[in-house]
């Protein structure tokens, strides 16, 4: 980790907030029943649990920003990508609502998770409602590619669900290979970012070769994002991550650097420690982090993230210069600032 200063928000994210924010509100009103509006509005960060306006800040709308850029990459106007942006953000929030229940997470973006306030049933239903609304919204959009885009969104969603299922399974297994772990990360994180990065173009009926290149770009960015996230889960600065030092190690998470280390020669001590049932104290966490680093897990993850970003950039060859620059700025925001 170098000490690159936190960059200001890319202009593309401001555009997404300005254009997609109101569209998300409107789409919730249009597609969802009144029963779940409060849960969904709360989860999006628009209201507090009692329905009063929220003072805080919703998500960063990274995926919507990518969807809007992909519409521009296909020669469309930014606004043409809005239905794709809304749909992909709905799918993202569907997954967050359900993942928080499965993982037992009680906080997200500095607030209590929906299931802790509204109960598991309503949080499950709110996720279901958002997934359903994503399909209705995208399929009802103008654009010759609405059917193709919806098909692509569902394929990505299915991969994301498989990835989360693998993640759940991996918790119980001691023999996870690096290839399995990379596949899981690709499914869980890469698939939706890949879809987001191409969905606007898909909706506009763009050349399939362009759609594929944009999808490949997002897939690599997604992997890089996961690698960086995993690095931060071990060596991140608590002041910046908002998590404990070595948060992922404490819960014995089989993150990419750890699995890389476990599968490297001479990782016996690390494997034994990870298999031990007793909780780690601060000293253990430091020691385990050192073992992961010594086995090459940290270097590998850092190098792999850089390789992925470089490959992602190469996928943008032929995209108009201004759009390419904006894609790269968002990529740097997602991954670069945190190396």
């Amino acid at each position: 980790m170098t000490t690159t200063p936190i960059r200001t928000l890319p202009a593309s994210l401001d555009t997404a907030t300005a254009l997609v924010g109101p569209a998300l509100h409107e789409a919730v009103r249009r597609h969802l029943g009144l029963e779940l509006e409060l849960v969904v509005d709360y989860h999006h960060g628009w209201v507090e649990a009692d329905g009063s306006p929220a003072t805080g800040w919703g998500g960063k709308l990274l995926r919507p920003a990518l969807a809007l850029l992909s519409a521009r990459a296909a020669g469309g106007a930014v606004a043409d990508g809005v239905p794709a942006a809304v749909a992909v953000e709905f799918v993202h929030n569907f997954s967050l609502l359900h993942d928080d229940i499965m993982d037992g997470d009680t906080a997200r973006r500095g607030r209590a998770t929906a299931w802790t306030l509204f109960g598991v049933p309503r949080a499950i239903l709110a996720g279901d409602a958002l997934l359903t609304a994503a399909v209705s919204h995208l399929l009802g959009a103008r654009g010759t590619g609405a059917r193709s885009a919806t098909t692509s969104l569902m394929a990505a969603t299915q991969r994301m669900i498989s990835g989360q299922a693998s993640d759940v399974d991996f918790e119980r297994r001691a023999d996870v290979t690096l290839a399995e772990c990379l596949r899981m990360a690709g499914d869980k994180t890469g698939a939706l970012l890949s879809c987001a990065s191409s969905l606007g173009a898909d909706l506009l009926g763009a050349n399939p070769a362009l759609v594929r290149r944009l999808a490949a770009f997002g897939e690599h960015v997604g992997l890089a994002f996961q690698l960086v996230d995993d690095l931060l889960g071990i060596w991140g600065d608590p002041a910046r991550t908002g998590k404990q030092v070595g948060a992922d190690l404490r819960v014995r998470k089989k993150s990419l650097p750890v699995v890389a280390a476990l599968n490297a020669p001479g990782a016996d001590e690390l494997a034994a420690l990870y298999a031990r049932p007793e909780p780690f104290d601060d000293e253990d966490v430091r020691h385990v982090a050192d073992l992961v680093e010594l086995a090459g897990g940290r270097d590998w993850a850092r190098d792999e993230a850089r390789r992925r970003v470089a490959t992602a950039e190469a996928c943008l060859d032929g995209v108009a210069d201004d759009v390419r620059a904006d894609f790269l700025e968002v990529t740097a925001f997602i991954t670069g600032r945190r190396f």
Copy 2:
């Protein structure tokens, strides 16, 4: 309740089992990741929890049977309706997987529910995967109406989710009106049966007026089905329902006959008993059932179910005689045999 003998299975249900059963298997293999296949196969009743072939019996495939009939109503072949039948059954099973978690139900169709065997995370994910697969499958089907049918399926799914959310809310409320309760039942049960009864026709690009009539048929059948189910939940024969006498009363369920009674004049004693926190013993259950009957809840529900069936039948005017007869046979199977 008269003692009408249980009828044999309508031929339409045999057709559905023969045609749709294999298609469901194939669609699970095609759309879902390997990670969740066991959970989904178990839930469908195809395998035991250890993956060995199941000896029992899956669902009745009522909704698929209706979807196939709707394809015939539009002049198509039975086989033309199969993608619609698969999609609607997937949505039905998505809802069962999630509802069992929300309701804390430990048994369904005489077997342990999926979440009790595989855990809540995998059961949530299996439901999510089925909903996603339903969309992929229907949208990828041949038939000029694939986009229209998928839109219709999502609208029905959204209503079903709203209905379940209302049901969750009603548990905490003492002031549920009959109108609210009917709306909830329409959303929770009517919407998907309405969609099933028209989805095959929709997929084939049938005349919108026919699609609407078939949808209205299914909506009324759905309401009748819910009313009959609610009657059985109070006065059903345990030997035939597989539940305790007065099962719904024991859990203070705000079913339609109860809400009708609670909103009738002079229901003070019933209201007081229903609001009492102590569990009901057998004597209480008998007394509460009598109070519901005395307030007219039983007669109202029985009459309303009959009215709904009659209205449903009228919606089939103009449908070819053989198809109409099959629709009515399925209707009788769903509702009639249990009056």
